[in-house]
């Protein structure tokens, strides 16, 4: 059962302060409403992973790691490799997160990332196939939220794209007789092919104002948000409205404009980090 979440009680005075600042066109840390916080990226934080990236977006920290493995393609999609995205909000990341299997928020985050990567064909899944219909590389992409200070989806997409961009496919040999695959992770066959970069820009509605990249405090008083994924060609490749509030038709259109604009910036940034 999905259940109305408990809203953290924010003292009236603080709430008024935030609303007041936002209405004047600024985040509480004085950024303009449509500016992202500082973004830092640390590569290869977990050398045992086949690729790993730590993304810091302000105080938000997200660790993305990838393991690759050989397995079977999905029966309903025998011509493509497999990408499996999971997300977990670790209990260290916020006093409100509890240990246990991923809840609906973590599942939704993973599925939004997954669909945006898949539908945009951001990575060349078809080139992961080893033996059509039988053997393929499986990409396990795991997203861990280490510290939650707002705007997790956008940070998770940056981490996911960069981890994929860094991923190297191990060297392997197919035994011609038995068809079994021998993997040698000390060598590489090559990099994963990135077809295009994708960014997710989540537009939040606080009072009647739209903004991006809120801190956790700001996020807590947003009535709704919409995560819009955009490709480097300027297409919309995924959307998900979240939260207990609504958007007017006009707000939706504004959110699209914001995301196309900011998405371009994020994609440029990602490309810089990747090179």
């Amino acid at each position: 059962m999905s259940s109305t979440p408990e809203i953290p009680i924010i003292p009236k005075i603080k709430l008024d302060t935030i609303l007041n600042v936002v209405t004047k066109g600024f985040h509480i840390d004085k950024r303009p409403l449509l500016n992202y916080r500082n973004i830092e990226v640390v590569k290869n934080v977990a050398p045992n992973a086949d690729s790993s990236v730590l993304v810091k977006l302000g105080h938000t920290q997200i660790l993305v790691g990838i393991k690759v493995d050989v397995g079977q393609p999905f029966p309903d999609n025998p011509e493509e490799g497999v990408l499996i995205v999971n997300a977990e909000y670790i209990p260290a990341a916020s006093p409100s997160f509890e240990p246990g299997p991923p809840d609906e928020n973590a599942i939704e985050l993973a599925r939004v990332i997954d669909r945006s990567l898949r539908e945009s064909k951001a990575i060349a899944l078809d080139r992961l196939l080893i033996i059509p219909g039988k053997k393929t590389w499986i990409i396990w992409l795991d997203i861990y939220v280490l510290d939650h200070d707002g705007n997790l989806v956008d940070a998770a997409m940056i981490g996911s794209m960069l981890a994929l961009a860094q991923l190297k496919i191990p060297y392997f040999e197919v035994d011609q007789v038995t068809g079994s695959i021998k993997i040698d992770k000390s060598r590489y066959t090559g990099s994963l092919s990135i077809n295009r970069y994708v960014a997710t820009v989540t537009v939040y509605k606080v009072g009647d104002v739209l903004l991006v990249d809120p801190t956790a405090e700001e996020e807590a008083i947003a009535s709704a948000s919409i995560s819009i994924s955009v490709s480097e060609e300027g297409n919309i490749v995924g959307m998900q409205k979240r939260g207990m509030g609504f958007f007017t038709e006009k707000e939706i259109e504004q959110a699209i404009d914001i995301s196309l604009h900011k998405g371009k910036e994020l994609i440029e940034l990602m490309k810089r980090f990747s090179s």
Binding site: S2, E108, N235, K241
Partner: protein, 241 residues
Amino acid sequence: MRQSKPQLIINGKRIDGREPQDLRQIKMEVGILKNADGSALVEIGGTKVLAAVYGPREVVPRHQEQVDRAIIRCRYRMLSFSTLGERKSPAPTRREIELSKVIREALEPAILSTQFPRAAIDVFVEVINAEGGTRTAGITAASLALADAGIPMLDLVAAVAVGKIDGVIVLDLNEVEDMYGEADMPVAAMPSLKRVTMLQLNGVLTPDEFKKAFALALEGINKIYQFQKEVLRKKYVEVEE
């Protein structure tokens, strides 16, 4: 095994003979269960979804209750035999968990939940037959069931998907169009208030295509809204007589 993609638009018509802007055939019933406080069955094309509502009622376990409002609890679920292909295991899938949240959040803005502090309003959406558009049919049905249960709402919520198939923007995708189309975009709104309460996109659209699709969705939602009001009016009149 996925077949090769069929042609979805032939001479401007869709595979089931519809024009791009046509809804499938719709049937709605309310008050079909004795025990539930409210219930509805919505059929749209071959898709058939049952919604039942209990509440406002006591929250169990107690610690979930909220002092200033009723909590909405929602479960979307596909019956084991509701889909083509293999029997679906009864364990909740990640898709079902996500859609339970998405449906709840599509309904939340409409429900006057502050009228029932410390209570729960439970919404159960059961997919009996799935041929495209089960989440939107579920929202439409749940909204009717809430009305049937007498839960006060700002407006009904109606929902439909739009999409892009063979490059054409179309309304109300069926199963085949959903599977082979280029984009699927389910939308829910409170039509008389013009508030969008659900919006997802699975696929690729240019900004212009998005605008066109979004407008078509809102049109479709309006038509479904008329159906909803009609079925409630009929039920109400029947009871009156």
